[in-house]
């Protein structure tokens, strides 16, 4: 680590900015009274964000493709969750399928 002072400043910026993001959405929400339908849309927006997060973390690594093992594990987890398998089974299956595929040489 070349310049500790700069790194600390960078860390402080990231920490403070992240806290500001966490706070500002709530303050907006408290300031404005949303009709029930708008509140449902806000919740749906969070679900859409989370779905996009699932897609990008499952399928991409940096700017490229993550390889087949990870999305295959997540796909199996998705099917199990859709069929109402217990949470524990869903999450362990994702890791197990991915690990086994990698063991078999799948990237």
């Amino acid at each position: 680590m070349k310049n500790p002072t700069l790194v600390v400043a960078g860390m402080a910026t990231l920490a403070a900015g992240t806290y500001a993001f966490r706070l500002s959405g709530q303050l907006l929400r408290a300031r404005i009274t949303f009709p029930p339908r708008a509140a449902r849309l806000l919740e749906a927006a969070a679900v859409i964000l989370l779905a996009a997060l699932v897609a990008t973390t499952a399928l991409t690594e940096g700017h490229g493709f993550s390889g087949f093992a990870r999305p295959a594990g997540v796909l199996v987890a998705g099917v199990l969750a859709w069929r109402k398998a217990p949470f524990l089974v869903v999450v362990i299956a994702a890791a197990a399928v991915t690990a086994l595929l990698r063991l078999a040489g799948v990237p």
Binding site: M1, N3, L6, V7, A9, G10, M11, T13, L14, A15, G17, T18, Y19, F21, R22, S24, G25, Q26, R29, P35, R37, A39, L41, L42, E43, A44, A45, A46, V47, I48, L49, L50, A51, A52, L53, V54, A55, T56, T57, T60, H63, G64, A69, R70, G73, V74, A77, G78, A81, W82, F87, L88, V91, A93, A94, A95, T98, A99, L100, R102
Partner: protein
Amino acid sequence: MRSIWRTLDRRVLADIGLTCLAVFFIGLSYGAIAVSSGFPLWVPAAQSVLVLAGASEFLFVGIVAAGGSPFAAALAGLLVNSRHLPYGLALPPGVTGRRWGRLLGTHVMNDESVVFALAQPDPARKRAAYWACGLGVLACWPGGAVIGGLIGSAVHDTGAFGLDAMFPAVILALIVKDLRDARTLRAALAGAAIALAAAPFLPAGLPVLLALPAVLLLVRESAVTPQADRQPVVAQAGSTP
């Protein structure tokens, strides 16, 4: 704290426990990667407590280790963390606590605590799930980072255990309930497609934000769906100038 145990049923608590365990393991790899790329242990330790948002910390450490400026790394991390703003909008008021409690309640907002809160049916249980998961992550993420930093390269390769598949699987398992609604599913798929199409070209964090306009699919469709329970909404929308 005691009210959390009474409000949530054991199944939800077990799910939260497993999620925190997964966070702990990812924390191990974070600490190990940070230390083995040349950072002293206090960097991942302090960051895991003060930032408390995994993806942005990995990115920060990666950029600085590659010779990038810490401010560029902080900006990249902030882009990744900007999704916490819409999270705050989505959470019903009171979930993150009141007065002084909200200082901490705001800090423990993350993907996991938000998704567990959204999955609960009523305000009391939303609040309890949010806090149980948020505090669990606050303990497990820094704990994992410190232990990972101490044992170093021994845990470097979490890929071999498929641990990288656990985070998307946790989130997916918790939003499946919402995705059973066909319109939400369509909007979510559209959003995911936008994010994936943008991922090769845009910096991390931005693709996920670009998925947000997919919510417009729900606005438009709910205005034209001729369902009985939507009638008042249509009337309201029509009367707005």
